[in-house]
């Protein structure tokens, strides 16, 4: 069997490893934009091949698949999905585990995803507004925040999935700090407008959503379009630095287990979350008439207003979340891929080990906002020592050059994974490995020692308990999902009704 993968991050290294483990002993072929050393060696070892190419050009990717004569392709990252790589492969008769362009819209356009959710009445929604320019955004933010109170506490995002960048959360709860926050909102809207200029495939530029708080978690699923199978829950940590401080990253580390669920999410909440993801997949299939076959993931949060709530959707595995689940997957990964492609997922039992897993990423200083600084540092890793600590090691944004040297490529350089009986133990195992990864020129690497620590885990549990009390109160009262204001001289104000009428009006205009 020949299988081809696309992409070059740690997630793809983990996918390649899952393929390599298969009882089918497939030859692994790979197309990537940088030479990830881990994937490169797996290709060599299994008798496959590795090539460098742009992964967002469907023609190029499909040509490689034809040339190599692979049985099917699995796409790792989101951008090839957005550009229609799976579509082109299928057009040429090559099966592909990966969301087709039209269904991948649920990830590409955060605005479209929300519209779909409201249109189909799927639970776990947030109020939102989209804007084509920063001027529009702050006119509305400034002028209407008295009548639409949710506009005071918002997340400002690029309307398109843009490599996990550009999200700012501004909570304007302290009236005495209002000016500071308002100014920052306007400046960030400007920044977003500029940033979105590089994306021409979407009309909406800026997305403003109501700010929510609560514990976040990622629910990754396999789907063949008819059946959805949820994987163990994972929690990613988006803040760059210790103490949950700093810029949003792709994820600095993630935890799962020790059972199928996370310690701070109930079984019911898991089921509800799965139902939400399922409904959304059904909705996008219905809307586009296309089948969704591949990986889908809900980046969720438990919120006061809605209970389990979608923050964003992924049309692929999360990174680092892929590592947590693939490392404890008991079922043969190739069998799962085949079941997805044959539409027979419901017949397959997908099983995972009941273990805790922790992943931590190491990134060169400069990531994520000043990536030039993080690039082109010579890397040295003692993989043997890491294995001796009982951990697994995945290459990420690392480029193997012709002469065998490995250079950092600007993003998360490596990810280290540990499997143990509890999360804290796994976390400690990884911390022991940190000295074994170095940049030879002495440039600093950073990582988060606090991920998986008792302190951080207790904090998550505490937040979850508080937010659960609030949404259950709403559920008991029958007001889950309701948002009502009363404004002096205006009276009751229902932002949900307002949003719905706006949405149906703009639909009429289409």
């Amino acid at each position: 069997m020949k299988i081809m993968g696309v992409g070059n991050a740690s997630r793809e290294h983990a996918i390649a490893e899952a393929l390599e483990r298969s009882k089918y002993n497939p030859k692994v072929f790979w197309l990537a934009e940088i030479r990830n050393p881990g994937i490169f060696y797996i290709c060599k070892k299994t008798g496959g091949d590795f090539s460098l190419s742009k992964t967002t050009e469907p023609d190029k990717v499909a040509s490689y698949a034809e040339r190599w004569g692979v049985d099917f392709v699995i796409v790792g990252p989101e951008e090839p999905n957005f550009h229609g790589v799976p579509d082109e492969l299928e057009k040429r008769g090559i099966p592909c585990v990966g969301a087709n362009k039209e269904v991948a819209m649920i990830e590409m356009s955060k605005a479209e995803m929300r519209r779909l959710q409201w249109e189909y009445g799927i639970k776990g929604k947030l109020l939102f507004k989209t804007f084509k320019s920063s001027q529009d955004a702050y006119t509305v933010l400034e002028r209407y925040s008295d009548t639409l109170t949710w506009l005071q506490n918002v997340a400002l995002k690029p309307a398109r999935q843009a490599g996990g960048k550009g999200v700012k959360v501004v909570e304007d709860q302290q009236l005495y700090l209002h000016d500071e926050k308002q100014r920052f909102k306007s400046r960030h809207a400007d920044w977003l407008e500029g940033y979105m200029k590089s994306y021409s495939d979407i009309d909406d530029k800026i997305l403003v959503e109501e700010k929510v708080w609560g514990p976040e978690y990622t629910l990754q699923c396999f789907t063949d379009g008819k059946c959805i199978k949820g994987m163990p829950l994972v929690q990613d940590n988006k803040h760059a630095h210790e103490f949950d401080i700093g810029t949003e990253t792709g994820g600095m580390g993630s935890i799962s287990g020790p059972s199928f669920n996370l310690p701070f999410i109930t079984k019911e909440e898991y089921e509800e979350s799965l139902e939400i993801v399922k409904s959304l997949v059904q909705a996008i299939q219905e809307k586009t008439g296309k089948s969704y076959h591949g990986i889908v993931a809900g980046q969720m949060m438990l919120t006061e207003i809605e209970g389990p709530t979608i923050i964003e959707m992924y049309s692929r595995f999360g990174d680092p979340e892929a590592l947590n689940v693939l490392s404890i997957l008991k079922t043969d990964f190739v069998d799962i891929c085949l079941a997805i492609l044959d539409g027979k997922l419901s017949n397959l039992k997908v099983e995972f080990d009941e273990k805790a897993t922790v992943v931590k990423a190491l990134a060169p200083k400069g990531y994520p906002d000043y990536r030039e600084l993080a690039k082109n540092h010579l890397v040295s890793v003692d993989e043997k020592a890491i294995r001796q600590e009982g951990c697994k090691f995945y290459w990420g944004s690392a480029n193997l050059s012709e002469n065998g040297e490995i250079l950092s490529a600007g993003s998360r350089l490596v990810e280290i994974l540990a499997i143990a009986d509890d999360i804290q133990e796994a976390s400690r195992m990884i911390d022991n490995c940190i000295p074994y990864v170095k940049l030879s020129d002495g440039w600093g690497l950073f990582y988060r020692s606090d991920i998986g620590s008792h302190e951080l885990l207790s904090k998550r549990i505490d937040v979850a308990n508080r937010v659960r009390r609030l949404y259950q109160y709403r559920r008991d009262k029958g007001i889950l999902g309701k948002r009502i204001d009363w404004l002096p001289k205006v009276g009751k104000m229902d932002p949900v009704a307002l949003l719905k009428s706006e949405l149906s009006k703009s639909k009429g205009e289409d």
Binding site: Y176, R183, I245, T247, F446
Partner: protein, 435 residues
Amino acid sequence: MAGIFGFYAFGEGRENWDSKNFIYYGLSSLQGRGQEAASFAVYNHEVKSLKWIFGDGLVEDVFERIKRDDVKGFLGIGQVSTEKGDYVIKVEEPIQLALVGDGKPALHENRQVSFQIFAEMLSKEIDEKKDPIDAAKNLIKEVKGGYSFIALTKDQKMICGRDIHGIKPLEVGAIGFDIGAIASESSALDVIGAEHSGYIRPGEVVTLDPLSIERRSFSNKTAYCSFEYVYLARPDSYLNSIPVGKVREMIGKRLAEENPVKADVIIGVPDTAIPFSMAYSEHSDIPVRLGFTRTGRHVRSAIKPSQFERIVGVQLKLNPIKTSVDGKEIILIDDSVVRGNTLRNTVYNIKRKGAKKVHVRVGSPPLIARCPFGTEVPQEDELIGRALSNDEIAEIIGADTFAYLSIEGLIESVGLPKSSLCLGCFTGKYPEGSL
């Protein structure tokens, strides 16, 4: 003593933040830790340098004097202090830096001088070591005392740390994806809308720079200041992950258990003893009543400088409500007793308004020794708890009975082993190697 605060913005667009008002509200919430001087320093990216602002008085007084737009910066640190003239430390050479500190490094008798020396050492050490985290680590290893500090260099580095025992607190929080905030107490983080995310460990250094946050810790000792939990910190704060409000409830419960007495009404002396009195009531089935109304601004009487001011402070602070005390047997709960005169005054006031009996209970053990770590406990010969027995004190202040919380009661209320606390002002014994 002092309250300290730091504000650090991260990521692209960080220069859009102005730290000044965050510092203002952060320091305002720490006002109880020092009301005699307020000061701050910010890093201004336009002039690529630090700017200092300082003055005597309350935070609002000092901030009123500055023209708001003069001082702008997306990084900043600030301090309130119990001593006039005790401002953010300035060091120009070899590395320009500003430093705020709580407690006292054991470098000089005087707190300010001590921190001045400390800041100069830090500047030199950074200049030699280049890496500020190593520099600060070496310094903490070397310099004894009980202190926490936040320094800000001209190179946009913020360096925070605690002495090896962690005597003085330092808490950490975050706002969104942008701001890291450091403060003596977590309540300052709440007030600026930050999420409280943890605390700096004893002997730990945390550095914040535009590209990373680093932590380095080498101490395995712990001796948190127990007086923080009894008196200094706000009840809405968490210190070292221990909720102060909860400790105060435990103390109230212990008081009810250790020295029970029959009475009609419980009254707490505002503000610190209010939670003691409520918990005492809950565990004794004696009702708690509002005993006093305050006039004017909140004044913390135990750390006011002069005797006269203290009495004025207490008289203004505490006008008894006659109907709460008239014809009743009262349990009066206070947080601490230093010299006894304010308590004497209070007992006198409520007896004059008709209280039949007054049983005084104190939510801390007797203060018998000085604090070498900057908390203004008076000279040892001025401490009534060191000089006199409970019965003698009762006689002098005009109370019918008088009792302190036991040391064991305090330790159990905090919920940490004795060896993890500094109990110096109650025992005269200070953490090993701290002096």
